[in-house]
């Protein structure tokens, strides 16, 4: 960048000196010089990288991002964790409830990775220390492959037995919707994510809640 500015300064100074005699010409050449300078300077940019706090809210494009994942996950936990379903379960079974995070369906007009939302919710659940979280279907498959492998190759003392997996009591499912209202260079996107916690044994929906995010994006 600095090199370009220097080169431009030298070049324009040379031309300016020549034009000094013709004052009328200056008026015409000036805008042209300005435009050319903008073009040259605009064509380059020095990349700058700064480390920032991962918890900091960042919004560049206006699209769904990690901040939104965190907001909905935290909001969901806040709404649901201290509700009747958990206290009743603990009184009845005298243990913590086991939860599995199921599918989060993407019904929006944005390509959003549902795995990122699932992970954020799992970590929020685990961090409360009030429920236990078990592996998702894909993860279980991988763990079982490992366990199978251990049966042949691992030392007997460290070998893990079959049939000891913790079965989940509740499954959390969600659907993410969005409504976009746009005109010219402005856009308002309203996201809504509906969560349902389902008792795996009885299919009863023990808790339902929703989280909303609204964004106004100007280009």
């Amino acid at each position: 960048m600095y090199k370009k500015i220097y080169a431009l300064t030298v070049l324009w100074n040379g031309i300016w000196q020549t034009l000094k005699k013709h004052t009328a010409m200056k008026k015409q050449i000036l805008p042209l010089m300005l435009v050319t300078s903008l073009l040259v300077l605009g064509s380059c940019s020095q990349r700058q990288v700064t480390r920032i706090n991962p918890d900091e809210q960042t919004d560049l494009s206006g699209r769904w991002n990690d901040t939104d994942n965190k907001i909905v996950a935290d909001d969901m936990i806040d709404q649901s964790i201290d509700k009747n379903w958990r206290t009743e379960f603990e009184t009845l079974k005298s243990r913590k409830a086991v939860v599995i995070v199921g599918r989060i369906k993407n019904n929006t007009s944005e390509h959003i990775d549902p795995i990122a939302i699932v992970k954020q919710i799992e970590s929020a659940y685990v961090n409360t220390g009030k429920v236990r979280v078990v592996a998702t279907a894909d993860e279980r498959k991988e763990v079982r492959d490992e366990r199978e492998d251990q049966q042949i190759f691992a030392n007997e003392e460290t070998r893990k037995a079959w049939g000891k997996e913790k079965g989940a009591d509740f499954m959390l499912m969600g659907v993410l919707y969005s409504v976009t209202d746009q005109y010219a260079k402005e856009k308002v996107v309203s996201y809504q994510i509906d969560f349902e916690l389902i008792d795996i044994e009885t299919n009863e929906k023990v808790w339902m809640g929703q989280s909303k995010i609204k964004k106004h994006i100007k280009n």
Binding site: A24, K27, I29, V35, L38, G42, S109, H111, Q182
Partner: protein, 460 residues
């Protein structure tokens, strides 16, 4: 001059790609785009790079790569901001120095490739997301021309093919209500616009699909209305499920933009500050305000001059084959045209012709004013600027040139698993068979497609 140099570079590459495509050698065209990738990406024509490479990757069956490229282009378009330096430069130099943002139909059609990619990769949820993104694009398209001056024939403002595509994606996902809404939109546009403006008739397959959907959802009044209008009686005993395989045929190549020029006489207007650009051959007279001091006696536009104005114009490349059908299980399924890309492109540019002229003449007026002012004090420098102006006066001839000339489709039922069938393309003299292999899922639908350029093309 800087603008000139970089433009010709792109034109050169586009020429190479086109030459390969003319020979039907997709791989070779793809290889051209694989060179200097970093340069392309930073270019103001980056969008064309993503679109062209995405199309060629799709033609080569590299669906994941194609999908990645179209996704970048999607975000690129969404994030495109007005670059003031570019806009100012386009006023002084030419439109080519602007960041390319695509023609309306191009911004609609890249969703078509992306939906095909997702469906072919089995990512049905992503295909639905893309269908919703396409709906937003169609809204933007309609909004853009809501306040524009009305033309005697409607602009390219709505796209029946895009609505049909959305309907098919939702149908595949089992979202029948939304699917029917899109079918009805497509029906209205086919009826109102497509036959009259682009010469594309409502496909027989489409008529069956919309009637089936009305029947399935219990809209019996609608069904009767369609039956009466189409003159077909719908077989109410047939399965309510349509074919699970939709096959698209991309035929030939879209038109290319080329530069045409018109000469205008610049005449001083009757009001101070105004000049009129006149072309008697076409009966054009465009008044343009250039500033009062510039039209005063003895200055700038006081003398009559002739200027050359350049404009982009589409030239059709057409297609080698003129009809096709799918042969499967001893049956024939004819391909029916659903989008005449060439006709849409040409219409779009024609509708904008007056805007293009206005823009070009304003630029010429600015250039001429600068030249005259300079000439008064320094004739040599003025002449030099005149020469630069002459060379930099170029039409913006950029377009997505790997799009097809026309898109056709058919729908059939295939058993789950990997299925093989034939796409037969024909002219009156030549018949060519293309073997197609598609994986058909147990549930939902599969979309496939094939692009034909020339007989004996190299695609796989």
């Amino acid at each position: 001059m800087f603008a000139l140099a970089s433009c010709s570079q792109i034109a050169l590459k586009q020429g190479e790609i086109n030459a390969s495509l003319y020979q039907g050698n997709v791989q070779q065209a793809y290889d051209v785009l694989n060179q200097d990738i970093e340069k392309w990406k930073k270019d103001r024509n980056a969008l064309l790079y993503y679109w062209n490479k995405g199309t060629l990757a799709w033609m080569l069956g590299k669906y994941q790569e194609s999908s990645d490229l179209f996704l970048i282009s999607d975000y690129y378009l969404e994030d495109m901001y007005r670059n003031y330096a570019n806009t100012a430069a386009s006023l002084f130099i030419n439109d080519k120095v602007r960041q390319y943002s695509g023609e309306d139909h191009e911004r609609v059609l890249f969703h078509y490739y992306q939906i095909l990619n997702f469906m072919q990769l089995g990512k049905t949820e992503s295909a639905q997301v893309q269908a919703r993104r396409l709906m937003l694009e169609l809204q933007r398209l309609d909004d853009r021309y809501k306040d524009a001056p009305k033309l005697s024939i409607k602009r390219y403002q709505e796209d029946a093919f895009a609505h049909l595509l959305i309907a098919l994606v939702f149908e595949s996902a089992g979202d029948l209500d939304n699917s029917y809404v899109s079918y009805k939109n497509a029906y209205r546009i086919f009826k109102e616009d497509y036959a009259a403006i682009y010469g594309v008739q409502m496909p027989a397959q489409f008529k069956q699909d919309i009637m089936r959907m009305a029947w399935r959802l219990g809209f019996y009044d609608d069904l009767e209305r369609y039956e009466k209008e189409f003159g077909i009686s719908y077989d109410r005993k047939q399965s309510t499920k349509g074919g699970n395989t939709v096959f698209f045929w991309n035929n030939g190549l879209s038109p290319t933009k080329q530069e045409v020029s018109l000469n205008f006489a610049v005449v001083r207007g009757t009001e101070p500050g105004w000049v009129v650009f006149v072309n008697t051959d076409y009966g054009f007279a465009f008044p343009m305000y250039v500033g009062e001091d510039k039209t005063a006696n003895g200055s700038s536009f006081s003398q009559i001059d002739v200027v050359r104005a350049t404009f982009p114009k589409y030239f059709t490349r057409g297609a080698y084959f003129n009809r096709a059908k799918v042969l499967s299980g001893g049956q024939e399924y004819p391909m029916e045209t659903i989008e005449d890309v060439s006709a849409v492109a040409i219409k779009e540019l024609d509708d904008r012709f007056h805007e293009e002229i206005g823009k070009t003449l304003l630029r010429l007026a600015l250039k001429k004013a600068a030249e005259y002012e300079l000439r008064k004090n320094n004739p040599e420098a003025g002449a030099a600027l005149g020469l630069i102006n002459f060379f930099t006066e170029q039409a913006d001839t950029r377009s997505w040139e790997s799009l097809p000339h026309q898109i056709s489709y058919t729908r059939l039922s295939l058993d789950p698993g990997t299925q093989n069938f034939i796409l037969r393309t024909e002219t009156d003299l030549v018949i060519q068979d293309h073997p197609i292999s598609l994986y058909v899922p147990k549930q939902g639908m599969v979309f496939g497609g094939f692009h034909t350029l020339q007989p004996g093309q190299v695609v796989r």
